[in-house]
Amino acid sequence: MAAVNEINKGMNDRRATYIEYAQAVPLAYAIDPDACIGCGLCENTCLAKAVKYNDKEEETTVTVGSVILSPGTKGYDPSNLDFLGYGKFPNVVTSEGFERILSAGGPYFGHVMRPLDREEPKSIAWLQCVGSRDINKCGNGYCSSVCCMYATKEAMIAKEHIHGDLDAVIFNMDMRTFGKDYEKYFLRARDKEGVRYVKARVHTISEVPETGDLIVQYVDESGERKQETFSMVVLSVGLTIPDSAVELAKRLNIELNHYNFVATDPFAPVETSQPGIYTCGVFQGPKDIPGSVTEASAAACLAGADLSEARGTETKTVTIPEQKDVSDQEPRIGVFVCNCGINIGGIVDVPAVQEYAGRLPNVVFTDSNLFTCSQDTQEKIKEKIKEHNLNRVVVASCSPKTHEPMFMETLEACGLNRYLFEMANIRNQNSWIHSKAPELATQKAKDLVRMAVARAGTLKPLAQKVISVTQKALVIGGGVAGMNAALNLGRQGFDVILVEKDAQLGGFSRKLHHTIEGGDILAYLDKLIGQVNAHERVEVITEARVTGFGGYKGNFTTDVEIGPGKEKRTIKHGVIIVATGAVEYQPKEYSYGDDDRVVTQIELADRLEEKGASDLNTVVMIQCVGSRNDEMQECSRICCQNAVKNALHIKKENPDTQVFVLYRDIRTYGLLEDFYKEARERGVIFIRFENDAPPKVKASAEGILVSVKDHILQRDITIRADLLALSAGMRAADTDELSGIMKLNRNQEGYFIEAHVKLRPVDMPGEGIFLCGTAHGPKLISEAISQSQAAASRATTFLAKPEIKLSAITAKVDTEHCVKCLTCVRTCPFGVPMFNTELGVIEIDDALCHGCGSCASICPRQTIKLSFYEDDQLACKIDALLAGGM
């Protein structure tokens, strides 16, 4: 029976028995009760008797110690906004629908087509803030936080997928690309990929009946009425809370705010009004994936702290079968070629690649799969390994970076050593980039498979060493983030040492007064410092400087110098949380430092706290000082809300003070939008300027004269201000010394780099090292708190285990042929190789070796081998590639 495919937004059909989408977990069929006609054929047909046709919903009771609510979000349904024509004009789709159009598993298999006639669009308009920042039509006053980025991404991918030129236009009020590295992405879209950004809110869409094209009408910034015609329109719909989640909250007696997000305190961002019940993701407030993943870990941290006493009491362990010894066997290689939906199969001739692989030396079995990474394929691979007695496996699919560990586990599950595995990346390095030349892509896929097979034949089983873990944490930085990380780890039941370079805890937050919601930061800080000092598991060391560092995950050693006397102490610990913070940018612009009437927002807040605003006639604020410019491309994220916060403070104290905010885009994301609205309601004037026409500032006896071109008036205006507040951006704290000693990577802006932006947002690339607070990038206090809870949670996963397995990719010395020339000792970036004076040999400690291979490539007698990357394991790839005749 056919049914409408909801996941593809109704753009195609599916059957009444169906799998929702290819990556669904669990990957199992379900029966759609609305479409089912009750024939019962499925139950009778299934040989495995897996279909329970008359299965009914059941209620069960589980007893738990904590609850986490993460019911997720629902895209806003724009059907009621009749002026947009959604549901009426087929070529108007929502952003969710467009995501499906772009997807290989979508209705058009990844080919960008418009629904009406399946023609490739020549132009697409994205309309921002549909169902967001709109109290007029839908009551959602908040900003959904994610739409500016996803629209930009969709525009870029569409441009890439479409064969001709695509005119991609994003109609927006403000571009809110405030996340870490987001501004760079936006600039690339605009300046390099040619995505057009138009400042306007579209008021009417109508259809050209003959063509299905859409006429988009809007008023531009100068007030002029305009219209443009597009092949397609994408409505960038906002995030909403589904009714079911609201019901759930009611049943649990959880307080929600006026937009149905969970009501939370800025200092307790993932705690609900019910103790023991936590929340994360969009239910907490609109946010993107990194934010949601971070909050998920934060919620897990608090939920886990409540249960810490019971940790490990109900765990089940997976038993891995004993490893088969294949060392004496000739290589028997199995090659599994992945279609990755149509990601690979749509371009590369997968059957031809599979057939080719079958003819390569040592290959005894080949197969191809729609998604080699799916759960059922893992089972299939296991069967084939056993059936064909495979002792090496090659998967030709995507990146080992993302999928190698999973396939390695599959090998282990059938008794094969995990290192007898090799991947050929025929997607990211091939089909994705050579999509316009399928024949070349097929040839290259064969080359890559041949190289992988050659290497697979040379692979050897490697043993992973098991080491014990020092179940103690070191937190570097005693600001809000560091203290929260330490306190939460203490609550999880682990000893923590918190080192702070200053004499006092608190960090940058000491300079702050209130959050925009009105939370008293100093009172919070006092309480937090009290809790940290009082916690029996947390030891605080102030005036501490890290001077030395060594060891490895689970067993680190850090040297610190403490106090004016430089007292030395060595700390042994299993994990590190880096929370070194950030500082306010010291402006060089706009006469700052030359004139007392020019201050930063932090200084303005101090002044308002001390003297109020009664003596101020006019205050001007300039945004993006030291952010979003050539020197610092990134957005500092917090300055818009800071300006709005101070503007509101002034207006509340003295409604007669005129406040002007000169801005480029107001980025009051999420629920902060309410405060932006309130500021406008209270008479704060917001004037937009372009980056290439910044305001001009002149000091005079009568005041600071600020000139700026008003976009609505289309002329320069001059404001005489008593006070000019610069929204100075954030700068990473100076961590040159620390990052050198601890060998931690930072980005161009000096912020530490996480292991993966979305998937591992608080892990650092080095194992056992975590990151939180503004050391990661600019953020609000509430965000720093949830991130520090997340870091504590991630660190807990490490500390909770008394022992860990090490990577087997380490350097090994053949001591028999080693001439002890010390070249490796002098070359190793981590000082690992040592001359053992007792045994008289050079030794490389497995646990310390980082596996970079520097020693192996410099050994004059070629006696050092890096496991998994031995010389012949690399050379055979070169040979195999070139044997094909390039």
């Binding site: 042929h817 001439v819 020339c821 070249t823 070359t827 410099i858 004059p860 007698r861």
Partner: protein, 226 residues
């Protein structure tokens, strides 16, 4: 340690121009340690030779072996079965090793792949400095552990000469005066009287190869010592 450096490629290539099958023999001790003649350098040189000869349309067949030391006959033995199959041998050992190898296979042309340069120390990876000229009459005991034969431009046993110039040698400002250094160090050790002692000059004339037999190691075979 003996320090050597790779000969210019063109020179090596010229040595081998008439041979079609050559064995490149590395040495696993001094020259390996100074990154000039171990397994790594053998394979790099062979790769170069292979490519260069192919470009000249005169392909060459190359063998590779690195033994512990070419200055020990027991280790050289490993070559016996191989050498026969080659037209020539290219040795990356020091001058001593090369000669010992050449001596063992008198009918085979043997060529040096390195220039043996000095006895020196390791300052860092790939960085060596000369410290000894093996003069056979060590004066380090009187010169505070600084060798004037090596460090002094004139190799003076008694110095300094009139060319000493505020710590530098007259030949270059960057070249320290050995005898100035000796004076400074002796003075720190309160042993300046040593500098006044006259050391008889070394007679470098009529040199012949020297032989050393350590006391207690004399056997009937080597007792022919002069």
């Amino acid at each position: 340690m003996i320090v050597a450096k790779r000969k210019p490629f063109d020179e090596i290539k010229d040595f081998l121009k008439d041979y079609k099958k050559v064995l490149t023999a590395g040495c696993g001790t001094c020259v390996a340690v100074c990154l000039a003649g171990g397994e790594k350098e053998v394979s790099v040189l062979n790769a170069e030779l292979d490519m260069a000869r192919r470009l000249d349309n005169k392909p060459i067949e190359l063998g590779a072996i690195t033994i512990e030391r070419q200055c020990d006959r027991e280790y050289l033995e490993a070559l016996d079965s191989m050498v026969e199959g080659y037209d020539a041998v290219l040795s990356l050992a020091c001058g001593a090793g090369i000669q010992f190898l050449a001596e063992r296979y008198p009918e085979k042309p043997v060529f040096p792949g390195v220039d043996t340069t000095f006895i020196g120390v390791n300052q860092d990876v790939g960085w060596y400095e000369e410290r000894c000229r093996s003069c056979s009459s060590c004066v380090l005991g009187m010169t505070a552990g600084i060798c004037p034969v090596t460090m002094c431009a004139k190799g003076l046993y008694n110095g300094p000469c009139g060319g000493t110039n505020k710590g530098s040698c007259e030949i270059s400002k960057d070249q320290p005066c050995a005898w100035y250094m000796i004076y400074e160090r002796l003075s720190k050790q309160n042993r300046l009287d040593n500098i006044l002692k006259i050391t008889p000059v070394q007679d470098w004339q009529n040199q012949k190869p020297r032989t050393v037999i350590q006391p207690g190691y004399k056997t009937s075979e080597n007792s022919a010592e002069k």
